[in-house]
């Protein structure tokens, strides 16, 4: 299927206008969907792990539509292989575009990484060398993805455990160039930033200084796993104290940007996620008040 054919097929049915998320949302996991639909908690928006919700029918589809009818949603992907060198998976992208259309998703995000090579899927976010040539390659792929999706792609920074000697720029500089060339938006994962700071010595101020903050449309917060001499971006714990502190610094720069709580492993009761979201929202509102005072 050609890109143009795919795009035409996807664009035929666009139900509602996307609703922009505000405040602090929660990453909705399968184990909580029935509870959420029954109790209708006061959550400003949900982020759906799109890869888990692309089933064309049945209960999964019915639940996704029910959630999207009640709350603004965003879609978060892990399988686009944005920076990969295998051909783009048009079938996958078409499914995501259709899901975005049917849910009226405000945006679709994925990561600055590769996830497949030689046709093998790694189901992990693997880093790339940050080079000028890689930038050309990734920019072309982001533009192609955006064509299929019919909307800007939102790119998230990743936790990197491996680097390449060939890298010529930082991840933040690479993302800034990518935004400039493609018009994509950014999702700044504060936990990933902190994990890279501890594991790789990534300096926070230069990173934030290099990032085009006006392109950031969403923040992520999650909990890492402390392995003593390094951190794992495991999304299996509450947000840690130093990440809350970094979050305070980030929202001071981006007080209007919505935040999302992610928790993917050893997922606790939904109320625990709500507590985390309330804490993030308190910090965000404090930053907004401070922002108004200093203007």
């Amino acid at each position: 299927m050609s890109l143009a054919t795919t795009r035409a097929a996807v664009s035929r049915a666009r139900p509602g206008l996307p609703r922009a998320p505000t405040g602090t949302g929660i990453g909705l996991r399968s184990c909580h969907i029935a509870q959420v639909l029954a109790e209708v908690p006061p959550v400003p928006f949900f982020e759906l792990l799109a890869d888990n919700h692309v089933a064309p029918g049945g209960l999964v589809r019915a639940q996704v539509l029910a959630v999207a009818a009640r709350w603004p949603v965003t879609l978060h992907c892990v399988g686009m292989n944005v920076a990969g060198t295998d051909p783009l998976d048009l079938a996958y992208l078409t499914r995501m575009a259709a899901l975005a259309d049917v849910t009226g998703a405000a945006w679709v995000s994925d990561h600055l990484c590769f996830t497949a090579c030689h046709g093998r899927q790694f189901h992990d976010l693997l880093p790339i060398p940050y080079t000028a040539e890689a930038l050309i390659h990734v920019a072309a792929r982001v533009q192609a993805i955006q064509e299929v999706l019919g909307r800007p792609l939102v790119i998230e920074n990743v936790s990197a455990y491996i680097g390449f000697d060939a890298s010529q720029m930082s991840e933040a500089q690479f993302l800034a160039e990518l935004v400039d060339r493609t018009g994509c938006r950014l999702l700044l994962d504060v936990n990933n930033l902190y994990v890279n700071h501890v594991n790789n010595g990534e300096l926070l101020a230069p990173y934030l200084g290099a990032l085009p903050l006006d392109a950031v449309v969403q923040l992520h917060l999650a909990g890492y796993e402390d392995r003593g001499d390094h951190l794992i971006d495991a999304h299996n714990n509450p947000v840690s104290k130093p990440v809350w502190q970094l979050y305070r610094e980030v929202v001071a720069l981006l007080p209007q940007v919505p935040t999302l709580i992610e928790w993917d492993n050893d997922v606790p009761a939904f109320e625990v996620l709500q507590d985390q979201a309330r804490k993030a929202e308190d910090i965000r509102r404090q930053a907004q008040r401070q922002h108004r005072v200093t203007r």
């Binding site: 064309p56 209960l59 019915a62 050309i136 491996i162």
Partner: protein, 255 residues
């Protein structure tokens, strides 16, 4: 760096993750001054990759997991991952050939008495499929009634999108259902079971059916015409029941 160099880097990292004993290639290095060595960092990605696939298999095959225990299951899952790496970003679609690994495993002494495992896995896979497959459109009863008034040899039924058949020489439905209800210590008398797995009104269902009904559904699956089905089974009499169960998804009138 040329584009092929980017590709080389990705291939090197992919190879290093897949082959634990192979030294890293392509200029990989730890990013931080005090960072752990490269092999430890690769191990993080290796755990993530294997862990995601094994977790997906655990989710798809909960009864096989319960029967063999977590350690044995993870060993079998690792064998599966080595033989059949994931090629689809959607992990819900990973694991369709797990029964093949089990078919080899049951030859080993520690699997004595568990010869049903491959068929049990096939049932669990069909159960998984029933959850994710598309919905059927509404059945055109009026059009079908009209088609029945024509030549039955030209009418071909189709199974519902979520409907799958399993002809098992072992009582896997009984075993599967017992485990799902927490009854894990029963002994199960041998016996063939013909099973239908499907979804109706967003509920997954699995049932043992009689040989005649199974034969009819099998004929539908093989694309036999209504005329051919009627010649070998009481197809027309059973049609209303098959439609009511949601097993028939549609029909075609051949020209």
């Amino acid at each position: 760096m040329t584009m092929s160099r980017l590709r080389e880097c990705q291939i090197a990292l992919a190879a290093a993750i897949q082959a634990p004993r192979r030294p890293p290639e392509g200029g990989l290095h730890g990013l931080g001054i005090d960072a752990p060595d490269v092999s430890r960092r690769l191990a993080i990605h290796r755990r993530n990759t294997c862990g995601a696939c094994i977790a997906a298999l655990r989710q798809t095959y909960p009864v096989v997991l319960a029967v063999v225990g977590p350690r044995c299951f993870d060993a079998l899952a690792s064998q599966y991952l080595a033989a059949y790496p994931s090629t689809d970003p959607d992990l819900n679609r990973y694991g369709d050939r797990f029964h093949r690994v089990l078919a080899l495993a049951i030859a080993r002494p520690q699997f004595t008495g568990l010869g049903y495992l491959p068929q049990l896995a096939r049932l669990e896979w069909l159960w998984q499929l029933a959850y994710y497959l598309p919905d059927d459109g509404p059945f055109d009863h009026a059009g079908f009634a009209q088609a029945l008034r024509g030549v039955p040899e030209k009418v071909v039924l189709t199974l519902g999108a979520s409907v799958h058949l399993l002809d098992s020489q072992t009582p896997v439905h009984t075993i599967w259902a017992a485990h799902r209800h927490g009854d894990t210590h029963r002994t199960f008398p041998p016996g063939r079971e013909r099973i239908v797995v499907w979804r109706q009104h967003n509920r997954r269902l699995a049932a043992v059916v009689c040989p005649r009904r199974y034969g009819l559904l099998d004929g539908v699956q093989r694309g036999l015409s209504l005329g051919a089905l009627a010649a070998t089974a009481d197809a027309l009499d059973r049609l209303p029941e098959l439609l009511r169960c949601g097993w028939i998804g549609g029909y075609q009138v051949l020209s």
